[in-house]
Point group: C2
Chain length 305, copies 2
């Protein structure tokens, strides 16, 4: 095989209480990535037209270009990569991770799957370093593995796939600019032990609730004492959207990654659609632009098209 086209999915990191450890893979939105083998021993990039095409086409500055170059080093051929971004940039939907994982996944297909899952995660994490000084695996892991992932330990990339029902996820992306670094810098450096205990009680309960499909438990445990109270200040209307989502029947709503996207997990498409309709009109009334997405949980990661 000399050419492959794949969809690299968006992801929701954190899931409220699971800051830096949990991530969920989505079907929509996604980046479309095509990689072709070329004779020249180098990596070339082409960014195709899309609403989110404002990303670097120099491989050294692109989260897909960097791992591609690292992999290419040991080969006697090169790659031409076409990226059509479908995931908003700086939206909290793992856009940079999707490009990184998507390129690594596509290249691995062209190399007859010679890379292990761990090697793919390591290469993708190198790509993430372009967009964050201290990169985490909470977007790349769910993007590559699909489903719900728990990063037990970032350093050793100890990633666990947690089985989860195929819920609907409503995603509301108001056009408010938040840089990942900014969202990280406002976090407290220290937390009170008793607050940390409440948080890990919720993390444990959320993982058990999701893996055993106990919706009431998911609802009670998707509660964040540390990050949401601070980051929500950066997202105008956050609590209006979240509280309305819960009122309409969502089993859990919060900030996706570092925001500003707000997610709401739902049992039915009807509830998710109602949440998106309300959110759209709400941000319209505030004169804030807004994209919305409706997705199911993606349990397989990147998809070959």
């Amino acid at each position: 095989m000399d050419r492959i086209k794949i969809h690299a999915p968006a992801t929701v990191a954190n899931l409220s209480c699971g800051f830096d450890v949990l991530g969920l893979c989505l079907n929509h939105p996604y980046d479309e990535i095509e990689v072709s083998k070329i004779l020249e021993r180098k990596v070339t990039l082409e960014i195709l037209e899309s609403p989110y095409s404002n990303i670097p086409d120099n491989p050294n500055d692109n989260t897909g270009g960097v791992p591609a170059q690292l992999i290419q080093k040991d080969l006697d051929f090169g790659f031409h990569i076409k990226i059509k971004k479908g995931i908003p940039l700086c939206g909290g939907l793992g856009s940079s991770a999707a490009t990184s994982v998507g390129v690594v996944y596509a290249i691995n297909c062209l190399l007859d799957s010679k890379l292990s899952q761990k090697q793919m995660l390591e290469y993708a994490l190198e790509g993430e370093k372009i967009s964050a000084s201290n990169p985490h695996a909470d977007n790349i892991a769910p993007c590559l593995l699909g489903g719900l992932t728990l990063i037990r330990d970032t350093k050793s990339l100890d990633v666990i796939n947690i089985p989860v029902e195929n819920y609907y996820v409503a995603l509301i992306h108001p056009h408010i600019e938040i840089k990942t670094e900014q969202a990280r810098n406002i976090l407290p450096k220290n937390v009170k032990l008793d607050i940390a205990i409440k948080q890990w009680g919720n993390v444990g309960a959320l993982i058990f609730g999701l893996s055993s499909n106990n919706k009431e438990l998911i609802k009670r445990s998707m509660e964040d004492f540390i990050v949401e109270p601070v980051r929500s200040n950066l997202i105008e209307g956050f609590y209006t959207i979240k509280n309305n989502a819960i009122k309409l029947g969502s089993i859990g709503s919060g900030i996706s990654g570092s925001g500003p996207t707000i997610f709401a997990i739902c049992e039915s498409k009807i509830i998710a659609t109602e949440i998106l309709e309300f959110s759209n009109s709400y941000y319209k009334s505030l004169n804030i632009g807004c994209d919305v997405f409706l997705s199911k949980i993606n349990d397989s990661g990147p998809i070959i098209v």
Copy 2:
């Protein structure tokens, strides 16, 4: 029924990373508690001879007497309670919780189970207040419910039973005095956010590992960055016992509750026995007295005998 005798089991709180939220119920050791209805509208206590009989027989000062009196208030009869302590005091094995839960459970049997599980937890927690100024449910919940319990939230007593394989548990109780209050006062008031994240990654992984019986995952995640590094200083020989337990094949070892008891979870009775034999001779060589117990996980809580 006018009289009942039960066994109220010991418990292992925390399970390393799950400080203040996780607890495990054991078959051994246990307190033997007998409650009889009496005509007088009061509660009387009798402490039977045992190696651990040095507890108050005034109902106002006894962790079983207090909840018994609270329940008795609304009744036109009273209770005579006989307690034979089998669980070491101040050992980190939930001794005060067992007395409290055992009395409440026995009384509830005499009242034709009119109390709900939550009411029983609430009464038992009132008993725990005698032994700790800020009582937690991480011993009373597993003692009453059996198996592995997660306290998602102490205030609302949101307790979740997590299914777990019936492992063997080796328990080593060196005769080193640690007061629960002392063990609590040496804890840090604040923790670094990045350490808290590592801890809740482990809590989530441990709960998933235990509920899905993934022994390698249990082993990797039973790691405590916050409490064990501090409390281990109070327990001479802690790391010798723990490291040897892991070397002999335990899938996880740490401090039981606030110590000094050390627990080691094992797949086989042979491994657990070898751990206990080593520990016994080790503490003998240090001239420190030591009780050891070998138990399976108790999945039902108190047992009527």
